[in-house]
């Protein structure tokens, strides 16, 4: 069985949090959205965070990505303390170190697929030529080479999310953070995105995914269950089943 393996050495974690907290309101109205969390994510690991709405999983993701500041605790990314960065340094970190994937894609409607992918590269100071080359190669990687000049409105949901994934990768981020990446997708598109995430995972990318979708969670290395701002369960998902697929379908043999 594969439930509890020893955690990786903290100093080797790509993402490391100690006593991480995020509070809203005060006194009677105090809400501890993230309540004293310790977390270590190894380089190349894929982690899913699940839990009911309001359990703090999105807030946690925002803290990890520097979209929001913790109320307390310590946070490291790739050995560097990031919970006390000033606004400018934080913006730079988000641009260069973090790849974000959102439920609603967040693509710019008036830009083509290629331009959407190029934009963060240009903002990070790459040359237009370099940005374009990278954008085209990433669009090819996500299977959309022939859609690079399409506007998002001319793409399916699955294709839009694949553009958004290409965009998340354009600055070679240290870690990719995904908030409900399949939340707006039908089953076919969900598999498109799952296939792509599986490829990224095998290429060694570190990914943290907040999700309601058990399919997404089941294809990661580790599943964290969150409730009321804390982790209530962690499961390593490296094992397969003992039975066969035919058994699962109820087929007699």
């Amino acid at each position: 069985m594969t439930t509890e393996e020893p955690m990786k050495e903290p100093e080797k974690s790509l993402v490391r949090a100690r006593g991480l907290r995020k509070e809203y309101g005060r006194d009677e109205g105090l809400v501890r959205a993230v309540d004293d969390i310790d977390l270590d994510i190894a380089r190349g690991e894929t982690v899913a965070v699940m839990g009911p709405s309001g359990c703090g999983k999105s807030t946690l993701l925002h803290l990890l990505g520097g979209l929001d500041r913790p109320s307390g605790g310590e946070l490291w990314l790739d050995g560097r303390r990031i919970d006390r960065l000033d606004e400018r340094a934080l913006a730079r970190l988000r641009r260069r170190e973090i790849g974000f994937i959102f439920q609603a894609f967040h693509l710019m409607d008036e830009l083509t697929a290629r331009e959407n992918v190029e934009l963060p590269a240009l903002l990070a100071g790459r040359s237009p030529r370099d940005a374009r080359t990278r954008a085209l190669s990433l669009l090819e990687e996500v299977g959309l080479a022939d859609r690079s000049n399409h506007l998002p409105s001319a793409l399916s949901g699955g294709q839009r999310q694949r553009v958004a994934i290409a965009r998340a990768l354009v600055n070679e981020p240290t870690v990719v953070l995904a908030d409900e990446p399949t939340g707006n997708l039908d089953s076919t598109a969900t598999y498109e995105v799952l296939r792509l995430l599986a490829r990224l995972r095998s290429s060694g990318l570190t990914i943290v995914i907040v999700t309601h979708d058990e399919r997404v969670a089941a294809t990661t290395d580790r599943l964290i269950s969150m409730r009321d701002g804390t982790f209530v369960d962690q499961t390593r998902l490296t094992g397969g089943t003992r039975g066969s697929l035919a058994d699962l379908a109820g087929l007699e043999r």
Partner: protein, 173 residues
């Protein structure tokens, strides 16, 4: 394989066992891997004895070359099966009782039973999802795999409800 499935496949045209097996493999994709080929011949022989199928080839042919067709009795059974609405019943009561007696007799923590069960279902879901990812979009097998995925998801959601409920109960104890 269920007799009715084999019978209904013969409604298309008289066939060899191996042709039926190939059609089955097409429809089931990776799920067909666990199915024993010999089972098809056993089923056909039983159906022949029961008068639901008949040989249409020369009786001297090799046994794996037997071609079968539906008899009127077989045809009738297929029609009946097509209109049958029975459905596999998920047996959740056993697990439900396990949690209750575990708590009553202090045999184990119901919440850790739920957690262990959830891990097992997630492993199954991982296998089925991987198989579904490899399947060609819109294939027969993809549709079946999606059904298994959805049932596992429903079971996982029920386990989540169980966990919430048992967590509440342990707080109030």
């Amino acid at each position: 394989m269920q007799q009715e499935v084999v019978l209904a496949m013969l409604a298309k045209e008289p066939s060899h066992g191996y042709e039926l097996q190939a059609r089955l493999g097409q429809a089931l994709g990776p799920l067909a891997e666990g199915i024993n080929e010999g089972q098809m011949y056993v089923t056909l022989t039983r159906l022949e004895k029961g008068g639901f199928v008949a040989r249409v080839d020369a009786p001297t042919e090799r046994s794996d070359r037997k071609v079968y067709c539906l008899t009127p009795a077989g045809q009738e059974r297929v029609t009946e099966w097509m209109s049958d609405v029975s459905w596999p019943r998920p047996d959740l009561s056993e697990f439900h009782m396990k949690l209750i007696v575990a708590a009553q007799g202090a045999l184990a923590d119901p919440i850790s039973i739920v957690d262990a069960q959830r891990r097992e279902l997630l492993r199954r879901l991982r296998d089925v999802t991987s198989a579904a990812m490899e399947e060609r979009e819109g294939s027969d097998a993809a549709l079946l795999l999606e059904g298994i995925v959805l049932r596992l998801q429903a079971d996982l959601r029920w386990l989540e409800t169980c966990e919430t409920s048992w967590t509440e109960r342990s707080k109030n104890r």
